[in-house]
């Protein structure tokens, strides 16, 4: 027993003298990491400020902060604080993604660095979003470091290998055909069921409602598909290599662990994205019936893609820490199902109800003190943001009823004041991408360990 355990024990590899290229990449990653850390400190400070401002310790705090951090936006002081916090969180996740990309030497990091800097520049110019400077500085610093060795960035070999295998022959084509066939059949079925049932009930059917049902049904099916495919594609990422006895081969090459993890993730997501994209024409049928906007299509796509990324990393993480593909799959599915189906069930109902009714403009219904009500609503937002289904429903509801795609406000029933909120899809995306990055980092750490 003790022996069996000791053989499985792993220890960290020591730091070693790196090549000039590795030193450069490491340095670039450190720059980005510091960008993220500074942003994180800022978020912490702003949260404290929000508390102090909310308790009216410093009366002018919000206005001053707004003038400083979000000068150009026409928003209430507290709303702009929320926006600043949120934008900073977005920047943190972007910087973390860039950091992973740089360490894995992904070719897409090169344009992505510019993109992040440009988006931040835009936010600074349009909203006066001052913290953008932190991120721009980090991106610029990173660029200056990697500029001297652009050839370090390349197409990920692991992704290339996996995609070659996955796309070989007619198999991928057959999978795609079956998938689209099933989706079409489902659409038709949904259409038939819906029209006959509503016509029976009301004698006529609203065309817009058909569109909504079709669209919702398709997105739901796609979500289900992602929940089952994303972990399946990645849970064997590392265990599969171990089982095929290729893991040792890979570990004696110079392939860096982040490259391996990212490559596996990219190849899994590449195929899932292909499935998602190929279903877009089908979803567009819903447009024919009306009742669905392009914005909803984009929203659903973002939510599905983010779910796929995060569940993919969950699979990779368990693949790194478990010895066999089977147990890695079981664990990944458990997490995926718990997150997507478990959370809605345990979503503590009062919170959720308070939040949803607030979202639909009826006030929260929790009418004790403003503070309690605020906390309830924010907790509700957080809970909803943990779950893609709830996120989709609430985001869509907000879009339909309040025309709110990003920011919206709730009027508290207790004292009539308003509090700012973001649409759940945004907080959901930030939250899920941060989780994904953390899981990637943990998986990489696990891979770097050496058998003791």
């Amino acid at each position: 027993m003790a022996e069996a355990e000791s053989t499985r024990q792993m220890i960290d590899v020591p730091e070693e003298a790196l090549t000039p290229r590795e030193i450069r990449l490491e340095r670039a990653a450190v720059v980005l990491r510091w960008g993220a850390i500074v942003n994180g400190v800022l978020v912490g400070l702003l949260l404290v400020a929000g508390l102090l401002g909310g308790l009216r310790v410093f009366p002018d705090l919000f206005t001053n902060l707004q003038g400083l951090l979000l000068g150009r936006a026409v928003l209430a002081g507290d709303a702009s604080l929320a926006v600043v916090i949120f934008l900073t969180l977005v920047d943190i996740s972007l910087l973390l993604v860039l950091m992973v990309g740089v360490l894995a030497r992904e070719i897409w990091t090169l344009p992505a660095i510019w993109l992040v800097a440009a988006v931040n520049g835009l936010a600074a110019a349009l909203l006066g979003f001052l913290p953008a400077l932190i991120t721009i500085a980090a991106a610029a610093g990173c660029w200056v470091v990697i500029m001297r060795d652009m050839s370090a960035f390349r197409v990920n070999p692991v992704m290339l290998k996996e995609l070659r295998g996955r796309m070989r022959g007619v198999r991928a084509f057959i999978v795609l055909t079956i998938y689209l066939g099933l989706m079409s059949a489902f659409t038709i079925l949904l259409y038939l069921v819906f029209t006959t049932s509503t016509i029976q009930a009301t004698g006529s059917s609203a065309v817009g409602a058909i569109g909504r049902v079709l669209f919702g049904g398709l997105v739901g099916i796609e979500l289900l598909l992602i929940i089952f495919i994303a972990p399946a594609f990645t849970a064997g990422a590392i265990t599969g290599e171990r089982e095929r006895q290729t893991y040792d081969l890979l570990r004696t090459t110079l392939l860096a662990s982040p490259s391996f993890v990212i490559g596996k993730l990219e190849s899994a997501l590449g195929f899932i994205l292909l499935l998602l994209f190929s279903a877009i024409p089908l979803q567009s049928i819903a447009f024919l019936f009306g009742g669905v906007t392009e914005l909803e299509l984009v929203l659903s796509f973002v939510i599905l893609a983010v779910t796929a990324v995060t569940l993919g990393t969950v699979g990779i993480f368990f693949s790194a820490i478990t010895p066999r593909t089977l147990s890695a799959s079981v664990r990944s599915y458990t997490v995926a199902l718990a997150v997507t189906f478990g959370i809605p069930i345990i979503l503590s109902f009062p919170l959720f109800n308070a939040f949803v009714s607030a979202a639909s403009g009826f006030g929260s219904g929790v009418s004790s003190s403003p503070l309690v009500e605020t906390i309830f609503i924010y907790l509700g937002l957080i809970l909803v943001s943990l779950n893609p289904v709830a996120t989709s429903l609430v985001s869509q509801q907000l879009l339909a009823e309040k025309q709110a795609i990003g920011l919206w406000t709730v009027t508290l029933t207790s004292d009539g004041s308003t509090i700012p909120l973001v649409s759940p899809w945004i907080s959901f995306s930030v939250f899920y991408l941060v989780i994904a990055t953390i899981l990637i980092v943990l998986a990489v750490r696990e891979m770097r360990k050496v058998e003791a």
């Binding site: 003790a2 070693e16 081969l249 004696t252």
Partner: protein
């Protein structure tokens, strides 16, 4: 001669079990080093420590001057490793297999095509370029595996039983490949149970048993060390003649010992343990004929590696 692989008192324990026990290995640059030992002797374990896959419990090891525990990446750059199990990717063509590993070694895309052509040419798999890896025969897989280890032009090849499970022809092919690679300046450190392979191509040899180095050195030293004297077998008609031979030869210079062996196929045999040179052997022959002894056979036993192996390994395999 400089050492390209060196271990000092390398120890690997799994729980209480000691798989490798204070092993000190010295592989000179440019040599073909045969690492021989019975099953479970700790060959694979030693190689896994040298290839940075497993950490030693104690002791130190250097490959190309880099410590395997402190500079694993530098070590990886210097070695090409072929494990005893061939790692197959289903769903991959031969050239893609090499392309993938070349990419893992950071070889730029524009150089990879030529490299793959050269490697396939070297291991004689050019005609199999587009075939699926898992459909290759075992011998071909082994050659492809060898090509893979060469992708980044390493200094040392660490090959775990490259000839195991191959038919005689495939075994000869691998052997010839190894010799060719050695001519290209690579140091080859490989393990085997097949002593014939080792004897044929090795310049150096190390014999391990139960995790300990029994003996190591260059093949020539090894021969001299293990067979300190020559054995001459003289076959004569009967026992009486054998006695005469014994009494005659025993007095000659450099003769260590004379034994009368059991008669075989009706012929009597005398074994002469002789420490002299070739002239001395000729002198014995001459003396016998001068004395009018009818010699029916006069042979010098060559000690092969197999008997050497049997002699040094005591069968204490766990």
């Amino acid at each position: 001669m400089s050492l390209i692989i060196e271990t000092r008192d390398l120890v690997k324990r799994y729980g209480k079990f000691t798989a490798v026990n204070e092993l000190s290995l010295e592989v000179p640059a440019g040599s073909i080093y045969g690492f021989v030992g019975p099953n479970g002797a700790g060959k694979t374990t030693t190689m896994r420590m040298l290839t940075t896959l497993t950490r030693p419990t104690a002791g130190q090891a250097w490959v190309a001057g880099h410590s395997v525990t402190e500079e694993p990446r530098a070590v990886r750059r210097a070695i090409g490793y072929m494990p005893d199990e061939f790692g197959v990717y289903d769903d991959m063509r031969v050239w893609e297999y090499l392309d993938f590993f070349a990419a893992c070694y950071d070889i730029p895309e524009n150089e990879r095509k030529r490299l793959i052509d050269d490697l396939l040419e070297l291991v004689d798999l050019t005609h199999r370029r587009e075939d699926m890896v898992d459909k290759l025969s075992r011998g071909m897989k082994q050659r492809l595996s060898l090509a893979r280890t060469l992708a980044h032009d390493p200094l040392v090849l660490i090959l775990d039983e490259p000839a195991s499970g191959l038919d005689p022809r495939a075994r000869v092919e691998i052997r010839e490949l190894l010799v060719e690679l050695a001519k290209m300046g690579k140091t080859i450190f490989f393990s085997s149970h097949i002593l014939a392979d080792v004897a044929e191509i090795c310049t150096h040899i190390g014999i391990v048993e139960a995790g300990e180095m029994v003996i190591q050195g260059s093949m020539d030293d090894m021969r001299a060390q293990l067979t300190p004297h020559r054995e001459i077998i003289v076959t004569v008609r009967d026992q009486e003649t054998a006695e005469r031979v014994k009494s005659l030869v025993a007095l000659m210079a450099d003769v260590l010992d004379v034994l009368i062996l059991e008669p075989k196929a009706g012929r009597s045999r005398v074994q002469i343990n002789f420490a002299g040179d070739d002239d001395g052997v000729a002198a014995i022959n001459q003396k016998l004929s001068a004395e009018g002894i009818l010699v029916m056979g006069f042979t010098e036993e060559t000690k092969d590696l197999e008997s050497m192996f049997m002699r040094v390994t005591k069968g204490i395999v766990t």
